[in-house]
Amino acid sequence: MTNGRRQNIVWFTLSIVLFLVVWEAVCRLLQMPAFILPPPSSVLAALWQQRELLFGLHLWVTLREVLLGLAVSILVALVLTFLMNFSRTVERLVYPYLVISQTIPIIALSPVFILWFGYDLSGKIAVTILFTFFPIVVSAFDGIRSADRQMVQLLKTMGANRWQVFVKLQVPSSLPQFFSGLKVAATYSVSGATIGEWLGASAGLGYFGRRASGNFQAPALFASVLLLSFLGIMLFWLAGLLEKRMTGRRRKRKINKGERFL
């Protein structure tokens, strides 16, 4: 297990290093203008130069937005999934709006957002929620509906009500699909917070990046993008870890002789 994790980290590092090498190579071989795509070396230099601002302020601002937004989003998604599962009417009335909410370009609604949420944290959280709840709802809902029919019936013969079928069977068996959605959402949460900051902010990595872009400081812009990516990867990884934790009990046992050939 620890061995596997160590190996994972090695692979991850390898893939990041490869990425940086390819990036540097692209910059040099294709002679990309540095003000459009700066080489990673200069980006890392900028990261170091701006470390106080980035790590002292902006990273934390964005991190808070992301985490709060994602947490509320999961809550919202679960409540929606729950309601849609228990009432066909709610499902039919609500589902179209969920889809609609994802097709509206945020720019169209940004004035409304500003009017309603202003420039404080709530606005960024709202955008993050808008960006992330959808994949969770769709996968959780699909997961819940795909619970084994025969098991549902067996539970009914035990006198289980809908709530018990939900808790004892549908929820556990939808976990794999729920986590697929959560991983996607975790990744998107970073973009959500960034866009949230673009609607109006005075701190955060998105704000920083935009300013850097306005000042033609491509390395600084990419330094913030690098941090954003890093944040996204961490969140994805955390979601994966959570998945292992929550569904691991049954997996752990599976990993025995029987799996040698898989």
């Binding site: 098991m151 019936q153 006198g159 018990q164 049954r250 046992r253």
Partner: protein, 260 residues
């Protein structure tokens, strides 16, 4: 609890399974259900426990027509249907949890029984780690532990070796006698059907219009040795005869309502 089918008809789509079937199992009775594969035994169970509703006719519990039969009868399905994320104990405790018992209490009750079922060392094992027979025993335990007054057992011992099977049969009989519950058992083993039951119901035609009843007049307690009693042999032969006569529709070509 008394269970009664009055003029029950049922079909899957266009394929009739039951037609105006009369069937009665008295309170405290032990009845075996025997018949060729695919005739409709499991379907009868699903009608009884409320998973299916008859197209016509009524199903009565204790003399009263009862629409909502779910949760009133304990049911051991033909497939073991264990939840693969629950351990043996957690799987068997499921109906108790659903009845509202605390996790602790439910587990306690299950653990008390594990030894009897040869599962004592496997309390925390997951279904994937069990052999076929062990899974069947967990499923059996899960149904037996519910405390319902009627127990529907769909081939509960088919995956067990002879000795374990006798063990389980004995346990079942003792439970039946102490608790005074009603048991209906589907089995393909005619000897088992006779040995355990007060009455053997034989299904032989498709769709099922009537059942052939055989009262087993052997005194209790019975042992495996009873097999050699002439009475036993006679009942057994009668049942075989009924089944053999109806052979054609059962295995060679099943009659279906539609003709694909």
């Amino acid at each position: 609890m008394k269970l009664q089918f009055s003029q029950v008809s049922f079909s899957y789509g266009t394929q009739p399974v039951l037609q105006k079937l009369q069937l009665q199992v008295n309170s405290g009775e032990f009845v075996s259900l025997v018949g060729p594969s695919g005739i409709g035994k499991s379907t009868i169970f699903q009608l009884a426990n409320g998973l299916l509703q008859p197209d016509e006719g009524t199903i009565e519990l204790d003399g009263k027509p009862e629409q909502n039969r779910l949760g009133k009868l304990a049911y051991m399905p033909q497939k073991d249907l264990l939840l693969n994320w629950r351990t043996v104990v957690e799987n068997a405790a499921l109906p108790l949890e659903i009845q509202g018992l605390s996790r602790r209490e439910a587990h306690k009750r299950v653990i008390e029984q594990l030894d009897r079922f040869g599962l004592a060392d496997w309390a925390d094992a997951y279904p994937e780690e069990l052999s076929g027979g062990m899974r069947q025993r967990v499923s059996f335990l899960r149904a037996a532990i519910t405390g319902c007054r009627v127990l529907l057992l769909d081939e509960p011992f088919s995956a067990l070796d002879g000795i374990t099977r006798v063990d389980m049969q004995e346990w079942l009989l003792s439970m039946w006698q102490t608790l005074g519950i009603t048991i209906i058992l589907i089995t393909h083993d005619i000897d088992e059907a006779i040995l355990l039951a007060d009455r053997v119901l034989v299904l032989s035609e498709q769709p099922i219009r009537q059942v052939h009843e055989f009262n087993v007049a052997l005194p209790r307690p019975r042992t495996v040795g009873n097999r050699h009693l002439p009475q036993f042999q006679q009942t057994s032969e009668q049942i075989w005869r009924v089944l053999r006569e109806a052979r054609q529709p059962a295995t060679v070509r099943l009659q279906r309502g539609d003709n694909r």
